[in-house]
Amino acid sequence: MAEHGATVLRVCRAVVGPVDAEDAWSETFLSALRAYPDLPAGANVEAWLVTIAHRRAVDVGRARSRRPVPTETLPDRPAAHADPAARDPDLWTALQRLPTKQRQAVAYHHIAGLPFAEIAELLGNSPDAARRAAADGLKTLRRHYREAETA
């Protein structure tokens, strides 16, 4: 399971941002440990972890929306937590500007490599809609990212 830790962290970072990603990652793997004995033999562990990460990321998002303080600015955290964002702030900004479903579709397809049929199940839409969300998201991402780079 540990071998998928890096991919899951990238997905979490893309979906919920660098600050909440570590909470989402931790809860994903803890849930996975609980549920692991029930996983059918031969199942795709990485895809399964991403589906758990999706649900945990939604939870983290809900918890965030309940917080009284607006989170437009990144809260103060130890440098280690802010590090990934500091490395490439434009990417985070571009990701945050995407509609949620596009951001999720981009992360699950382009980072985790999930097929659109599975992404559609997670997002509650059709495979075609999931494919469009990923394509639109990636297009917007490239445009904003390039603007930021050339600005």
Partner: protein
Amino acid sequence: MTPNIFDGLEADDGALARLHQRLEHDAHTADVLDVAYRTIDTPVGALLLAATTAGLVRVAYDVEGHDAVLAGLADRISPRVLRAPARLDSAARQIDEYFAKRRTVFEVPVDLRLADGFRRDVIDHLRDIAYGHRESYATVAAAIGHPRAVRAVGTACAHNPLPVVIPCHRVVRSDGSTGQYVGGPLAKSTLLDLEAA
């Protein structure tokens, strides 16, 4: 297909190490850590140590293939296997002391669920062979009431789930030669020489 614009998301080792440590702690607290493991470096190579909540359940030599051993533990005990050194601190420290000739008896809780029946009888007897002493396969066979089962004693020693800690290396051939060993003949003579010195 994956565009390189996602390079900025690349998980760094520091973050993963920190997260793993947090998971180790959370899993322990939530009681979902069925098998904890770590490796240690010793004069006989890297040893894999694994423990359940009951105690040390497996010690494995490099030549056994640590990945294969972990897969076997996932199969036989629980798939909730996690690298979690804290549970093995005491065992690791005692093994270090043993190799430094500062310890002759191991005092760690053991979980012998991987040995049953005849093999368990052999393992239980091995625990009584004191530091620096040797017994022949035939003596062990006689001691557990199966004097003709000399070869089976050899097989049981080869399947000792806790080599080093449970001293199957102290069982040698009747002619005095060291015989086979799960960690290889060199490891066996290293341990015997260490205890004889």
